[in-house]
């Protein structure tokens, strides 16, 4: 079975500072990996995805993520956060039995 762990429940970062969100997964084969963002009161929006190829993936809103097979990780980064990046971030892995497994999410707070 597949699973995703997001070790950080809540991260506070200053505007303009860098951000890194951790994601560790368990999957029996080469995974498909995703990062989604959920702004307050909104649905989930796909930030980026990894299927194969280059392990450094670029996404929308200036985010990138790096797939590290040896560490079973897919961490999300942004060099300089904006106040609008305050949101809930979800890592997901799949598919297994048609499903994606989502992590519990990391809440990002941006302080001025």
């Amino acid at each position: 079975a597949q699973s995703v762990t997001q070790p950080d429940i809540h991260i506070t970062v200053s505007e303009g500072a860098s951000l890194e969100l951790r994601c560790n997964y368990s999957y029996g084969a080469t995974p498909y990996l995703f990062w989604y963002v959920q702004s307050p009161g909104q649905g989930l929006q796909l930030l980026l995805k990894y299927f194969s190829g280059d392990t450094l993936v670029q996404g929308i809103k200036g985010f990138e993520a790096e797939f590290k097979r040896s560490q079973s990780s897919f961490n999300l980064r942004k060099p300089s956060v904006h106040w609008s990046d305050a949101a809930e971030y979800f890592c997901a892995v799949g598919p297994y039995d048609y499903k994606l497994s989502f992590g519990a999410g990391t809440t990002v707070t941006v302080r001025a």
């Binding site: 498909y32 995703f34 989930l44 979800f90 799949g94 598919p95 048609y98």
Partner: protein, 114 residues
């Protein structure tokens, strides 16, 4: 153009009532999903249809019944609503589910049962 839409956005109702949530996608996808997001933001898959065939049916009370009249629509009917059903329900869609394609989410329906 809205890719995945849900109606209504908010739903407030009393215990024991029956309610439905509708979902439509205009992406041409062949697979649709219902998720429940609880107060702690945890996302739980409930159902999925692929080409109108039920492919995921998680451990969900049988008061919840999905219906897919065609590939573009997936509705969720809930009978005898209970307080614990209060949550945000998300519809999503994807193409070629076995290929691991990304899912596109609707804006959510916040259900409050009083």
């Amino acid at each position: 153009d809205t890719a995945v839409s849900q109606t209504p956005k908010y739903l407030v109702t009393q215990m024991g009532n029956d309610k439905s949530i509708k979902c439509e996608q205009n992406l041409g996808h062949d697979t649709m999903y219902w998720y429940k997001q609880d107060s702690k933001k945890f996302l739980k898959i409930m159902f999925s249809y692929n080409n109108k065939e039920l492919i995921i049916n998680e451990t969900v009370p049988n008061r919840f019944s999905p219906k897919s009249p065609d590939k573009a629509h997936l509705n969720l009917h809930i009978n005898s609503l209970e307080l614990g059903d209060s949550a945000v329900y998300f519809c999503a869609s994807s193409q070629e589910v076995l290929a691991g394609r990304e899912q596109y989410f609707g804006p959510g329906t916040r259900l409050t049962v009083t």
